[in-house]
């Protein structure tokens, strides 16, 4: 699995890490039962604070994406089929490009629709 973060981005690092894991799970690149790296390993690899990774993992657990097991670490527990959503997002992105809508506006519209 490839996890990338950008410390210069406005999005908090723990959210970036969470979003990367969610995307991997949702694309089927992380199957149910896959073990994520230990929080300590991931923090060292990305050169971020251990608590940043722990916060990301806790949020993923709260959302039912992973389970945190003592001694076994973080394990992916749900990998729902998001094919329909991916197709819809691709279509929305294409429409936004066609209509020359700036990404920030498109994201704002999506956020509004979700809330």
């Amino acid at each position: 699995m490839l996890i990338r973060i950008d410390p210069t981005s406005a999005e908090p690092l723990f959210e970036q890490i969470g979003a990367q894991v969610r995307a991997l799970v949702s694309r089927g690149e992380l199957a149910v039962g896959t073990r994520l790296p230990s929080a300590r390993d991931l923090a060292a690899s990305l050169d971020v604070n251990l608590h940043t990774v722990l916060r990301a993992y806790q949020q993923l657990r709260d959302d039912g994406v992973i389970e945190l097991r003592r001694g076994r670490g973080a394990v992916v527990v749900s990998a729902p089929d998001h094919t329909r959503l991916h197709a819809a997002i691709a279509a929305a992105a294409a429409a936004a490009r066609d209509l020359d809508i700036p990404p920030a506006t498109a994201v704002a519209l999506l956020k509004e629709a979700l809330s």
């Binding site: 490839l2 950008d6 991931l42 990305l46």
Partner: protein, 325 residues
């Protein structure tokens, strides 16, 4: 492949991998020969479940094992001398050579020592104890030789990463990690079967030394049934589940990382932490996709892992970045 210089540490290699085992085997031969007057003639040379069942001259009790030990030592020395660019290659060669010499020396001496003063070789005691001592001595001497093998010096690359090697689009401000677990079900299945058979034999034949063999096999099996590979700012680290073996390539020693396909039996003579053809070293757990890293000093490291393309591309990209600093 970059231009290859001679493998380093050739004197240490010759001493550890050739001289030490030959001295061990020579000393065992002389010692056994010096017992000639006290030994029965013929001596017991083979044991079955009921005790000694094969007899022969003193020479036939010594020579096969000693010749095997010499062949192994010369082979290991040649590998380390000519293709030992990586310390892991030299370490495996020295460990196997000295370990086998120690094992074989005890296997020759133990049963003969037990027959000193006997008139009738059919009354020779069993070989469970010499076998256990031989295994322990072989492991201890092999480990010692491997530990004494000189390590590689840091060899930072003088030139850029091979431009033709794969890359990944990574913004200058981005940090990235690639990580992958590998598990070999085939190794586990075969390994557990072998360990159970040896354990069963140990119970049936009441040779407790075989239990020791089973324990050693089980540890070996555990060390090569799974590994995880990580590529990040520190380079590549591949590690077995017991923490051993470990392969590490720092970013400044990466010449080029690529995807390759590995056939363990054909190219590495088996599974696990191996030295392969041309002195490539690596952790090979299964047939198929592998990450191959050409590093400085003419060394090549191979790790069998899925999605090696991403790992190779990230390793090259991060190595580029480290060179630019």
């Amino acid at each position: 492949m970059t231009r290859r210089t001679h493998a380093p540490h050739r004197v240490a290699t010759t001493l550890l991998t050739l001289v030490v085992p030959l001295v061990l085997l020579g000393a065992a031969t002389l010692l056994a020969a010096s017992w000639a007057d006290e030994l029965p003639d013929p001596v017991a040379v083979h044991w079955g479940a009921e005790g000694p069942d094969g007899f022969g001259s003193l020479a036939s009790a010594i020579l096969p094992a000693v010749v095997a030990g010499v062949v192994i030592a010369v082979g290991a020395w040649a590998l380390a001398f000519f293709a030992g660019h990586a310390s892991s290659t030299r370490r495996i060669a020295a460990g196997s050579s000295v370990g086998m010499a120690g094992f074989l020396a005890v296997i020759v001496l133990g049963p003969l020592e037990a027959q000193r003063g006997l008139a009738d070789p059919t009354t020779a005691p069993g070989i469970a104890t010499p076998l256990a001592v031989a295994i322990v001595a072989g492991l201890a001497l092999g480990t010692l030789a491997a530990a004494l093998t000189p390590a590689d010096a840091d060899q930072p690359a003088a030139s850029a990463v091979d431009p033709s090697a794969p890359r990944l689009a990574l913004a200058a401000t981005e940090r990235a990690v690639w990580r992958r677990d590998v598990f070999s079900r085939a190794t586990l299945t075969v390994g557990v079967a072998v360990v159970l058979v040896v354990l069963g034999l140990s119970v049936v034949t009441r040779m407790w030394a075989l239990g020791l063999v089973a324990a050693v096999l089980a540890a070996l099996l555990l060390s090569m049934v799974a590994l995880d590979a990580t590529v990040d700012e520190r380079g590549l680290v591949a590690r077995g589940i017991l923490g051993w073996p470990t392969v590490r390539v720092p970013l400044d020693e990466v010449v080029a990382a690529r995807v390759t396909s590995v056939h363990p039996l054909k190219e590495f003579g088996g599974w696990g932490y191996r030295v392969g053809r041309g002195g490539r070293t690596g952790i090979v757990l299964r047939t198929g996709e592998a990450l191959e890293v050409e590093r400085t000093g003419g060394r090549v490291v191979v790790v069998t892992v899925d999605d090696a393309a991403t790992g190779a591309a990230l390793l090259n990209t991060l190595a580029d970045r480290a060179r630019a600093v």
